[in-house]
């Protein structure tokens, strides 16, 4: 594959830039994901010029220079790649996520593990207070006697 073929090929037309992507490389979810992020920046339109091909047309909302349109196309292409990664990772980890969720929802040892942690805290011997400062709530007998008639 030559360098020219590896680059994104696009067409510029007034306020529009359009390019065609292959659904073998860019799944539909990735195309939707990228388009979703651009609908507030420009007018996005998808078309189907051929089987397994999707044409993406981005139209600036205001008149812009060609360089801005080229940058827009480049950003969209980058986002497409990002979305492809997200889709692939989501697919490859779906079983793991299902398993984790199922375990979180249906395992019955959640309560017992919390109880176990509390019991460990209760049994734990607290470190000696290095400053040995007496605290009133630990020595109730040391509290001053109440005067008669005091509630």
């Amino acid at each position: 594959m030559s360098l020219m073929e590896a680059e994104l090929t696009y067409e510029l037309d007034d306020r529009r830039v359009s390019f065609v992507v292959d659904e073998e490389l860019y799944p539909r979810d990735a195309i939707y994901g990228a388009a979703y992020l651009f609908v507030d920046r420009c007018w996005v339109f998808l078309d189907k010029p051929a089987d397994r091909k999707v044409s993406i047309r981005l139209k600036a909302k205001t008149p812009v220079e060609a360089a801005v349109l080229e940058a827009l196309a480049g950003e969209f292409a980058n986002e497409l790649l990002n979305q492809v990664c997200r889709v692939r990772i989501a697919e490859s980890t779906s079983k793991l996520r299902e398993y984790t969720l199922a375990r979180a929802f249906f395992a019955d040892d959640t309560r017992s593990s919390i109880d176990q942690l509390l019991a460990e805290l209760d049994a734990e011997e607290l470190a000696e207070e290095p400053l040995e400062i007496p605290v009133p709530w630990e020595t109730p007998a040391a509290a001053p006697a109440k005067a008669e008639g005091e509630p």
């Binding site: 979703y36 996005v44 339109f45 189907k48």
Partner: protein, 73 residues
Amino acid sequence: MTIRFPRSLYRREALDAAVAAYAGLLAAEVSTSDDAFTATIRAAEGAPADVADAFANHALFETIVRERQEAAA
């Protein structure tokens, strides 16, 4: 003007939602063929020049939202 929305990329209910959302700015009739929905659009007086683009943009947005809702269900 007419806009052709491929059925494999756009949803009919998304187009209907876009028609409802832009009712004040344009009148649109949507017809269905084997491979596409065709929206015949007549912009209202005083509507912005890009109203058809905005309409198509909205249809895409609604399609994506519905696709995601369906995938999550």
